[in-house]
Amino acid sequence: MTGPLALFRRDLRLALRHGSDALAVVAFFAFSAVLFAFAIGPEQLGGVAAGAAWVIALLSVLLSLDRLFQADYEDGSLDQLALAPAPLAAFVVAKLAAHWLATAIPLLFAVPAIALLLRLDHDALGALLVSLALGTPTLVILGAIGAALTLGARRGSVLQALLVLPLEVPVLVFGAGAAFGDPETIETAVTVLGAMLMAALAVGPAAISAALRAALS
């Protein structure tokens, strides 16, 4: 499994060196939170802050996903990955893990600051962090399915949004639910998010690698 590990390291390095995508996600997140705080005003913020934070986080994570495989596809790297001895699904997992680490982790670090800005209380912050930590990997996997399916398609990214939207809504509903609710709903929601992540992990890599092979053929 050195191959996938190497891909993981390479993608992280690209994210750090090039910086554009990974940092853009956090910048986008912070930026939108500030805008939100401005646009909505402190009085009304309380009730909706957690939900808003979730939506913003989701949008930020989605942001760079539509080009997840594009660069590798265009410069021929994807050919090399598809022809490497390790199974393509393993490379997919490595790539998604690197993407998640490079985007979601900085985002999680930014969340407390954002929470302050949006006047989230302590419990809500905890719930938000937990639900984001559990929900974002699922979002990444689902988005990657869309990205792989639409690789080389006409109107790729619109199509991707169309494909991914219905699949991601449930994640958001439970994620936001967890961030909002009382302890008991939080526990339920967290369990459901966990279940969704497991299911996405079980189905995602195989589906993605099948879609990538189709794109290359």
Binding site: G76, D79, Q80, L83, A84
Partner: protein, 231 residues
């Protein structure tokens, strides 16, 4: 004895067949130069040989076993270089090769490997990478991001992957296209050594090629939906 052979290979692209009932047959140590007009289907055939494109009909076999049935084994025995170099512009030539080397390692550990003397994985691949860089004349620019390299330097970096580990089958799509004379020299030497040690190479090329003992096959642009190959 034929090591690698294809029979009746047909591949549609868009609405028409680009390759129709094509056959090829390669023995150990053989070098095949693919020729044909632009758009004849050379690149397509190479991708079929690599197992990237599955033909609509026909079979492609390695030692009598279908390459699509044994896709993993086939991937582990080949090295493919397409029109695109497959390099990351932000990484240096060395980093790109290190990455390529670690892609192989899972394979080279499974199989008999030519560099299993000792040392940690990292050390092994470092030595190999250093070697490949030197062999393709890249030592002096190894630390420059490939974004800044000239077209030929980038192509050499892509070709240097050939020197990372021995593979039984090389599939090269116009490898010499932006190389200078010295680069072509290195390439033909590398192919020669590869063939001499029993490897098979399929090379798409236009113009003259300096590959000794190479057999040529011309892919004919299909007329009226029929394509064929004249060996």
């Amino acid at each position: 004895m034929s090591e690698f052979e294809g029979t009746d290979v047909s591949v549609p692209r868009g609405e028409r067949l680009v390759l129709a009932n094509l056959r090829f047959c390669l023995a150990r140590g053989e070098v095949l130069v693919l020729r044909g007009a632009n758009g004849a289907g050379k690149s397509t055939l190479l991708r079929v040989m690599a197992g990237l494109v599955r033909p609509q009909s026909g079979t492609v076999m390695w030692r009598g076993r279908g390459i699509f049935a044994e896709a993993d084994a086939h991937r582990a025995r080949l090295r493919y270089l397409g029109h695109n170099d497959g390099l990351k512009a932000a990484l240096t030539a060395r980093e790109n090769l290190e990455f390529a080397a670690s892609l192989d390692e899972s394979a080279s550990l499974d199989k008999t490997s030519s560099f299993n003397e000792s040392g940690s994985l990292d050390k092994i691949s470092l030595g190999v990478v250093e070697d490949a860089l030197a062999r393709w004349g890249l030592a002096r620019i190894a630390e420059t991001p490939t974004r800044w390299l000239s077209a030929g330097q980038r192509r050499r970096t892509a070709l240097a992957r050939l020197s990372l580990a021995p593979r039984a089958l090389w599939l090269l799509d116009e490898p010499a296209s932006v190389l200078d004379a010295e680069g072509v020299e290195r390439l033909s030497e590398a192919v020669g050594v590869h063939a001499a040690s029993g490897g098979i190479a399929v090379v798409a090329a236009h113009g003259a090629v300096a590959l000794r003992g190479a057999r040529e096959m011309t892919i004919v642009t299909p007329e009226g939906g029929t394509a064929g190959a004249s060996p």
